[in-house]
Subunit: 134 residues, 4 copies
């Protein structure tokens, strides 16, 4: 029920604090959501060409517990938390792999709506996506 | 009481949806916090060299209302919402300048702690910063 | 003849080496080109809506001389180096402001073509742009 | 002799032109170099802790042939082009996987030096790295 994506920390992800720049966890979370959808048969570029619609993020709540560093190996998860007709909420976490127990680095929830790419107006999420997520 | 920083939207800020990538508002908010601190006489690089400490973000809550596009002119604000010994919370907004009323694009709060850069352990925020913020 | 844009270094620009991540100078250069065009009356978003075309970068050559750090104040320049019907080449530099002479951090040239946004096929650069650049 | 890393294009990589932002190929190239070194037993974070040194990029030359789009699957390569005591040059390419022949999107060479992380002064590349690369 929970999708997991391994992600490696590269130079581009870090900042002068020597750790992963906090905004970049949103990128990691987005990669995990995208791969999760892909694993369910949902390709966002293809869907946009077919339906003219796309996902947009409407709300994020993130807690940062521990920093990640260059070369760290993360495991980023995605799980459906709530699902409506026009928006879904995904619970996500970033863990660091260690020789022992993984360590929770960061967690949060991302609320996502579906819009017309042309007008940016909210629309119903295509049923193919909602069914794939169930 | 509220600091305002004008920020222009460049190609680097946008994504294939034709709008500003949502994670990038965290960058805009960080720029506004940094300039706000600088306007109060607080330089983060200098402080780190003097104290060995730095800010880290511990929590973010963001709501996205309207998208921004290439070439848009934003006004990004920062205001002290809450202040403790080890962390402060900053309320931030991103507005789009228009010929009429500015439009609220995105808003949220960012909780920030102070840590030793070497150990990443929490420490008290330097009193010079807390006083500058009051 | 040479356009200059002041740019401040923020956390987002740095990496765990404690310096500006080298790819980010391409962002700085792009901001300077965009503001230079804007100062000449050329808005890229507006042009795209009118002509359906946009700039794409076709070649970059960059030399990195000295690193920039958090809070550094840069001066980023843009100057027309070569101009043809389908592409132009811009010479760009990034300098650090100091109390004395500015220091050259990075320099290079960026070759840019004009394409149809729909087909990505090369097209002639709109004459309004070429005239503005002269 | 040529290292290959598969890289997927995500939202974060694209811009409002609907294609991968050209600066981001430098990130893709850096990921491939890092994984190549890792596959040869060289970990950059570990090396920095042991030697106090790190790589910095001193020169890049990139040609962009075709754009990549959201969801594209790339193959990014790295190959030693030239090797000296204080710097090495890596030839890199980004290809798009297709149902037929892969398409060359972007190629270039990246010159990299070794510096003391504390002083940013050039130093000899650790012999363990040079030997691993041969």
């Amino acid at each position: 029920m929970t999708y997991e994506l391994p992600i490696r920390v590269y130079w581009e992800d870090t900042d002068a604090g020597g750790i992963v720049f906090y905004a970049n966890y949103l990128k990691f979370f987005e990669r995990a959501r995208t791969e999760w959808l892909r694993s369910l048969g949902v390709g966002q570029q293809a869907l946009r060409e077919q339906t003219g619609g796309m996902f947009v993020v409407s709300e994020t709540t993130i807690k940062y517990h521990r920093p990640a560093r260059l070369d760290d190996e993360l495991l980023v998860t995605a799980r459906l938390q709530e699902s409506g007709r026009a928006s879904i909420t995904i619970a996500q976490q970033a863990w660091r792999k260690t020789s022992g127990q993984p360590e929770l680095l960061c967690e949060g929830s991302i609320r996502i709506g579906w819009v017309s790419a042309a007008s940016m107006k909210p629309e119903r999420i295509p049923s193919s996506i909602l069914e794939a997520l169930k």
